[in-house]
């Protein structure tokens, strides 16, 4: 039973990591890439670490419970820091006016557009 | 290899090429800020290598000093001088 939960958590975590990688690779500009990296990274790290913490509880003893608690503490730290780091990088990009991708081609676009696929150098 | 069973050689195969790539990238990147960040990545990979060789004290120092503070110091310096290296 425990194995099934662990496998489910790990596979979901790996799936979201895969999605993050594809997002980083395929999204057209800085902001959308950061969006993929920030969200997917946080969720998949937490899923993977929870899977490890549960797997560690196979031999239930005070030691293994302690190790699992430490892993869950890492989860909490990642949950706090990773979105903040994403926010800080995004904000820095916005402040220094990194161009964003848009489909509009006319000159009334808020900032000049970039062709999809070429992307802004990040 | 003597301690063949205690060491995960898969980690070596995975980490050593990445360390070499990071080191070469840090040398060749023209943008100094980018080079500082790649140096931080290199330090973190070295930290993983030390952990894999069971030298946890060294790994801890590498993580705190190499990947943490010296990256910030390099960034702080790179932002105050010209961003592009000449060669």
């Amino acid at each position: 039973m425990l194995d099934i939960i662990v496998i489910a958590l790990m596979v979901t975590g790996l799936f979201f990591f895969f999605g993050t990688t594809i997002g980083l690779h395929r999204f057209p500009d800085f902001y959308t890439r950061m969006h993929a990296a920030g969200k997917g990274d946080t969720l998949s790290s937490i899923l993977l670490l929870s899977g490890l913490a549960l797997y560690n509880l196979h031999h239930l003893s005070p030691d293994t419970v302690q190790v699992s608690l430490k892993i869950m503490f890492i989860c909490v730290v990642i949950f706090i820091t990773s979105p903040t780091a994403t926010h800080a990088i995004m904000d820095a990009g916005y402040e220094s006016k990194v161009k964003y991708w848009t489909r509009r081609k006319d000159s009334s676009a808020p900032q000049s557009s970039i062709e999809p696929g070429k992307g802004e150098d990040t | 290899m003597i301690l063949d069973n205690t060491i995960l050689w898969q980690f070596d195969v995975l980490l050593l090429p990445m360390v070499i790539i990071c080191a070469l990238a840090a040398l060749t990147i023209k943008d100094l800020v980018g080079a500082a960040i790649v140096t931080g990545a290199y330090s973190f990979l070295m930290c993983l290598l030390w952990t894999e060789m069971l030298a946890v004290d060294v790994a801890f120092t590498e993580a705190a000093v190499g990947a943490g503070v010296s990256t910030i110091l390099l960034l702080a310096t790179a932002l105050h001088i010209k961003r592009k290296a000449k060669d």
Binding site: I80, A88 | I2, M53, V56, D57, A59, T61, L73, L79
Partner: protein, 249 residues
């Protein structure tokens, strides 16, 4: 010139890689280092110093003199950066490229920093004090302590941090750490033992000689941590503001 340097580096690198052949294999039990030196430490370290972490015991006790001058090197590096970069009156305009200045402050970043800094400092103190039993010690703990101040300076600004940790106290603490380290050694001399032979403290503190080794190491680690913390933050403050100490990154 560049070609010549490259050629020289390649030759030297090939020579070094060739000489790796002669090194003993990793973990070889018959290599000179692990035939008599390592077994001595591994077998006797708990009887001699009562510290189970070999690395800390070797660093702070067997090689205490070495570590003291490592601390002095950190101290001198900090002083050098201070001497070169620090300028009190502004003669010419700043040469740095203008960066986009934000108006207002970032509440998410600041609150996260406020949430994270106290656990960071607590963890740093744990690393310093628990270096006898687990990986860690003065250098790592000091760097983490310094990094907590750097985080404060990054998320708020340098001026606010410098109000908490003044430049004069930076200099004071960086000297104080070295003084604590050397002072512990000198007290050992005054009590009739060798320099940094912590066993001399046993009568003074009313403990056994074994415990005196452990306590002496703790005192030394605290000294290292204080110096490293002050120097790390002073390096950041000087490098990030270009010596003016008015604005950080």
């Amino acid at each position: 010139m560049k070609r010549l340097t490259l050629l020289l580096t390649l030759i030297l690198g090939a020579y070094l890689i060739w000489s790796v052949e002669d090194l003993p294999e990793w973990g070889d039990p018959t290599s000179p280092a692990s035939t008599y030196l390592s077994p001595h430490y591994i077998e006797n370290i708990v009887e001699e110093t009562s510290v189970p972490n070999l690395v800390t015991a070797i660093l702070a006790d067997y090689r205490g003199y070495d570590t003291m001058f490592e601390t002095v090197v950190v101290f001198c590096a900090g002083l050098t950066v201070l001497t070169i970069l620090r300028r009190t009156e502004r003669k010419n305009k700043k040469v740095s490229t203008p960066r986009p200045q934000r108006e207002g402050s970032d509440i998410i970043l600041q609150n996260t920093a406020r949430l994270l800094i106290p656990p960071m400092q607590l963890f740093a103190l744990y690393v310093i004090a628990h270096g006898h039993h687990s990986p860690g010690g003065g250098f790592q703990g000091g760097v983490i302590l310094g990094a907590s101040f750097i985080l404060l300076a990054l998320s708020y600004d340098l001026k606010k941090t410098l109000k908490r940790f003044k430049e004069s106290s930076m200099l004071f603490y960086s000297g104080l750490g070295v003084l604590i380290y050397a002072g512990i050694g000198v007290v050992c001399l005054l009590l009739g033992k060798n320099f940094l032979a912590y066993a001399a403290w046993s009568n003074f503190l009313g403990i056994t000689e074994l415990e005196a080794h452990s306590h002496g190491m703790l005192g030394v680690e605290i000294g290292v941590a204080i110096t490293v913390m002050a120097i790390m933050f002073s390096l950041y403050a000087d490098l990030a503001s270009g010596g003016d100490l008015d604005e950080g990154l």
